[in-house]
């Protein structure tokens, strides 16, 4: 199992029966593959529907039915379509229970930066700023460090923010952390990972939970 699958599996365990969930592009999208069998969740797609289903079989793509990344998808029985204004009323109005997004940087105050690298890559925020503002719970799914090994979980984000004080949970291949009033709390570590390793790869200060657990993805 690679890091991304491990992260997606751990995040999937956060979902509860009846949740409305919006998954960002990339790693977050993988969460849909690991929803626990005994619960029903509804995926929202910000381009205009509830009831996002899996990719269609080859040859059965519908050009009029795509996800927010323009990939062909399916709709589950009981879904519904709407326009962008309604879509973001649902998002900003607090009707989305969980959003899962990636990060360029995230910090101990719950700040998130994931929409631009100044003077380098500026894709735009898309729906991310509305999602972090409106969703009841914001989960960041990201590899713990950049490809060059630099920490992504910082004392304070340097890149322009997507949202200030918005993140609730950070899940990486090394750790499961929550953002609390007291700071960033290390709640769980991956199997075969030490607290020291997590601390060394994290720029933000970590509060170690009294009942530190091993991340369980089953």
């Amino acid at each position: 199992m690679n890091s991304k699958e491990f992260i997606a599996r751990r995040i999937a365990k956060e979902l509860k029966d009846g949740d409305i969930v919006n998954l960002g592009i990339g790693l977050p999208t993988m969460v849909a593959n690991y929803v626990p069998e005994n619960i029903n969740v509804t995926f929202q797609s910000e381009n205009g529907f509830l009831g996002l289903g899996p990719a269609p079989e080859e040859g059965k793509e519908d050009k009029d039915l795509t996800n927010a990344g323009a990939q062909p998808v399916t709709m589950l029985n009981g879904g519904c379509f709407f326009d962008s204004s309604m879509s973001f009323s649902i998002i900003r109005g607090g009707h989305v229970d969980i959003t899962v997004l990636g990060a360029l940087q995230v910090d101990g105050k719950g700040n998130l930066a994931n929409w631009m690298v100044p003077n380098k890559i500026i894709p735009g925020m898309g729906g991310a700023m509305d999602l972090v503002t409106g969703a009841k719970k914001v989960i960041i799914g990201t590899e713990h460090c950049t490809k060059k090994g630099a920490p992504k979980i910082l004392k304070e984000c340097i890149y322009p923010l997507t949202g200030a004080n918005v993140v609730d949970v950070i899940v990486t291949e090394l750790a499961y952390m929550t953002i609390t009033d007291k700071g960033l709390v290390l709640e769980e570590i991956a199997p075969n990972v030490t607290v020291e390793e997590v601390i060394s790869k994290t720029d933000a200060e970590l509060i170690i939970a009294h009942n530190l657990k091993i991340m369980d993805i089953e």
Partner: protein, 217 residues
């Protein structure tokens, strides 16, 4: 008088320097033949309002590549590298707006509202230059309405009066833009007789549509 006109006649309504809203989400629900007709024309210096700049070879992104655009108001340009390149080179003005705010600005422009208060963007650079208003202890940004000279939209089924049905995820920004533009042009996949669309499935009232093109399918 029929609202159905040729692509060329429709594109004649668009003049250099105008502000144009373009429906679609990464090209899905966009008026592709209208875009191609603009692409082939000499129209330039457009301000484009659209969810995204789609792809270099698909959707409104083609107009960026073809240097017909001087300014874009949009939420996402990541799928069209040429937008980013022109922006970095100072050749194109790009205003990046959170997607929900963009949708709401376009809605407000069509709904006669002077603006709205959104929590989106608080604590970010989106705040810059905007009035902040506190209601019940919570901060909001005052965002202003957007309007355009012309909207070009992609309709799935359009009746001869202009009533539009947008299929599945092709709806997105299309019905909002139909409300907030002085002239509204819909490219139809299919044109039907008046009354053939269930009145509950009409997502843009025909009264708001000025011209219909296409329907060849």
């Amino acid at each position: 008088m029929s609202k159905i006109i040729s692509y060329e006649k429709a594109v004649d309504k668009i003049k250099d320097g105008m502000t144009i809203m373009v429906g679609g989400f990464l090209g899905v629900g966009s008026p592709h033949n209208l875009i191609d007709t603009i692409f082939k024309s000499n129209i330039k210096d457009l301000t484009i309002i659209a969810n995204d700049t789609a792809f270099p070879e698909i959707g409104v992104g083609k107009l960026v590549v073809n240097r017909q655009v001087k300014k874009v108001i949009t939420s996402h340009i990541g799928t069209n590298k040429e937008t980013g390149r022109q922006m970095s080179a100072g050749e194109l003005e790009v205003v990046l707006v959170p997607q929900g705010t963009l949708a709401e600005q376009i809605r407000a422009g069509g709904a006669g509202l002077g603006g709205f208060l959104t929590p989106t963007g608080i604590g970010t650079i989106v705040e810059e230059g905007k009035q902040k208003i506190t209601i019940d202890g919570k901060d909001y940004l005052l965002e202003l309405p957007l309007r355009a000279d012309v909207a070009i939209l992609g309709g799935s089924i359009v009746d001869k009066k202009g009533n539009v049905f947008y299929n599945k995820t092709t709806r997105n920004f299309n019905p909002l833009m139909a409300m907030s533009s002085d002239t509204v042009i819909v490219e139809a996949e299919k044109i039907v007789e008046i009354g053939e669309i269930d009145p509950h499935l009409v997502m843009t009232p025909g009264e708001l549509v000025d011209y219909i093109v296409g329907g060849g399918k």
